[in-house]
Amino acid sequence: MPLTSIHNPYAPGAEESASVERFPSGGALHEIFAARAADATAATCFALGLVKPGRVLWVRQELAQLESGALYAPGLATLGHDPSQVVFLVLRDAQSVLQAGLEAARTKGISAVLIELWGAAKPYTLTASRKLILAAKASGTQLCVIHHAATPAPSAAEARWQVKRLPSRVMAGHAPGWPAFEVTLLRHRSSARMGQVWCVEWNHEKRCFEFRKEHALLSTPPLFKPVVSLPVFRKIPLYRAAGSALRFG
């Protein structure tokens, strides 16, 4: 099993590199658990950061769509994925979701398959996960199973992560910052760092997640862009809204 990765989801020179826990060049199954039901979007986002951008097949359970909303292409583009490369299915029951996922995992030419399940998914058994892994190994596809509102059950997965959202580093002007998560490596087949907790933050410039010391999340990152375009002819007025200090330009 190669321990290095072709695609580096985390920035080079990040404070702490987790190359061992990353995906090998394909053919592995990672499980991502949302710590609470409210962390569904965080878990989804982390899965997107973990897989290689490219042809992505995404199978969602209908309940996940009802609970946390339909996929939105501009948001995917913000996270560095090309929406035109994404094909997705929204299916009612976990059984069909896994069937479609297995079908996709068998196919060469798909860079990643995301399977999103909501609630305790009975059909996702040890056998089912083993089947998925065998299929992915044969085709070299990356596989991510995202569980929302579920507790971990035995499976053949390479790694199991738990994702919990963190308050972001608020930008100047009181604006919400970039996504920040607390990621726990619940188990890994070939890593000694099980149980370790990292804080990761999305780096919008490099389009990747970066590890941060937790206290770093409390400092203020630079502004990324003005919200309203600056006036060309007039002098720039300084708006200081009382109380909530909104930034207008």
Binding site: T41, R55, Y72, P74, T78, D82, A100, F224
Partner: protein, 473 residues
């Protein structure tokens, strides 16, 4: 059969026995009862009649692909080029009539060079088969009523002493056209076989057809599948020689008891590999909600291509790229067949500033718009998941037109710790509808949940309302 017409219940159709007793259509029911007191009557159900006729037409598809409805009570079959399969015209006629009579249908039929001539002969004459070029002589003795030109015209023709079609044909057509209009003379020419029209079949004509007839009905499903696979192979060879690939396929299973079952398969890309097509059909047959049942056995299977595209031989590149694209298209095909066309989606970009309209999800079979997606860092942050339609929330704001301070969504109270906005997005006035402008805010609550909420409306007569639009990661 009776129906209420012109204020009275009138006979519309009667069987042979009733005819023998002197009843005929257009008689009122009271008169008919006076003649035959023990008359059995039923109400006319034209819709059911039509449905039955369409069903028969579908079943007649086994004789020729060109089947058209002829009025309310007739079928036209274009058997051009099909007769040799049955060993001649007469043999084919015998086969068709035998097949239909065996299903307890009483029929009147005729075979002629033009559809109009056959129509007239079947209804007004006892001649059943007219050789090519003999149409005019076959219809000369028929009454002018056969033109079906309406009671007034028929009356006028008879008054003028023109009693048969032969009489009419002997007059110069310009005179007839001047007196009765072009429709009549055209119809006459068509009946006489001097002018031919093409049928408009009730089912579109397939682009390519292969079929197999069985001497004995096939009852074993495995054998049926094997026969289908052979047909697929034959079809793919034909496609290969034409440099074409099929996009929509249809297999028709003709059961011995007259039922016809059609199974459709569509592919995401032009396809002519026998192996993958066999797989697609096998998958489709497995997942049918109403499984294919052999019952009395199938006596014919036909495989058609409804839509095809030019498909040149794929050249494999050194890195095997073409191979990948193919297998991916096959995957999409399999998913579409298993889960339905509307379940497999991709994104389509629209040139619009409306956040809901600018990105839509459409089935993969629908081509996506070609406008690219903004991936630069200048693009405004957008949520990963959105709610369509947006969900109403209760909001408390510090100042009326400021960002929310706390809000209640799905019964949960969220305390806002950071907010950015407003980003005002107006409705697209050129699309009509008077939606109020929306002020969007990016907010983050104490636990780190990041949301996209908006206030709809201005502070005028109506109070603005707040909605949850989406969730950031």
């Amino acid at each position: 059969m009776v129906e209420k017409q012109r204020g009275a219940l009138r006979l519309l159709a009667c069987d042979a026995l009733a005819r023998a007793a002197g009843l005929r259509p257009s008689l009122t029911l009271a008169e008919a009862r006076a003649i035959v007191p023990s008359l059995h009557v039923g109400h006319m159900d034209l819709a059911a009649d039509h449905a039955a006729l369409v069903k028969i037409a579908m079943a007649c598809d086994r004789f020729t692909p060109m089947v058209a409805l002829d009025g309310m009570d007739g079928l036209l079959l274009d058997i051009t080029g099909c007769t040799h399969l049955y060993g001649g015209e007469a043999a084919m006629l015998g086969h068709i009539t035998g097949w239909l009579s065996a299903r307890h249908l009483t029929l009147k039929y005729a075979c002629a060079g033009t559809p109009d001539c056959a129509h007239v002969l079947a209804r007004f004459s006892t001649i059943t088969d007219v050789g090519p070029g003999d149409e005019a002589s076959a219809v000369t003795q028929l009454p002018v009523k056969a033109l079906e030109a309406g009671a007034e015209t028929t009356q006028a023709l008879i008054r003028a002493g023109l009693k048969s079609l032969g009489d009419l044909a002997s007059r110069p057509s310009q005179v007839l056209t001047a007196r009765f209009g072009a429709t009549l003379s055209t119809k006459l020419r068509r009946i006489m076989g001097q002018e031919d029209i093409r049928l408009t079949p009730i089912r579109p004509e397939p682009e390519l057809v292969v079929e197999q007839l069985f001497a004995e009905p096939l009852r074993n499903m495995d054998m049926v599948k094997a026969a289908l696979d052979r047909l697929i192979e034959a079809l793919c060879q034909k496609l290969q020689s034409l440099d074409q690939g099929g996009r929509a396929f249809e297999a028709s299973f003709f059961r011995a008891d007259g039922a016809t079952r059609r199974v459709n398969v569509e592919s995401a890309q032009a396809l002519r590999e026998a192996k993958s097509l066999c797989l697609l059909f096998a998958l489709r047959l497995e997942t049918l909600a109403d499984p294919l049942e052999a019952g009395f056995g199938f006596d014919a299977i036909r495989l058609c291509i409804l839509r095809s595209e030019t498909l040149s031989q794929n050249q494999r590149q050194l890195d095997g790229k073409v191979e990948d694209e193919r297998s991916e298209a096959e995957l999409v095909d399999r998913l579409v067949i298993r889960f339905g066309r509307e379940k497999v989606l991709h994104f389509s970009a629209q040139d619009s500033h409306d956040p809901l309209r600018c990105a839509t999800s459409v089935p993969v079979s629908t081509p996506a718009a070609t406008i690219g997606w903004r991936q630069d860092s200048e693009a405004l942050p957008r949520p990963l998941q959105i709610f369509a339609p947006p969900q109403p929330i209760e909001v408390m704001a510090e100042v009326p037109d400021g960002p929310p301070m706390r809000f209640r969504w799905r019964k949960m109270l969220h305390q806002v710790r950071a907010a950015e906005g407003p980003e005002r997005i107006e409705a697209e006035w050129w699309r009509g509808g008077d939606r109020s402008p929306r002020d969007y805010y990016r907010v983050e609550d104490e636990s780190g949940g990041r949301f996209w909420v908006f206030r709809e409306g201005l502070f005028n007569a109506h109070m603005p309302r707040w909605f949850m639009q989406g969730m950031f990661a």
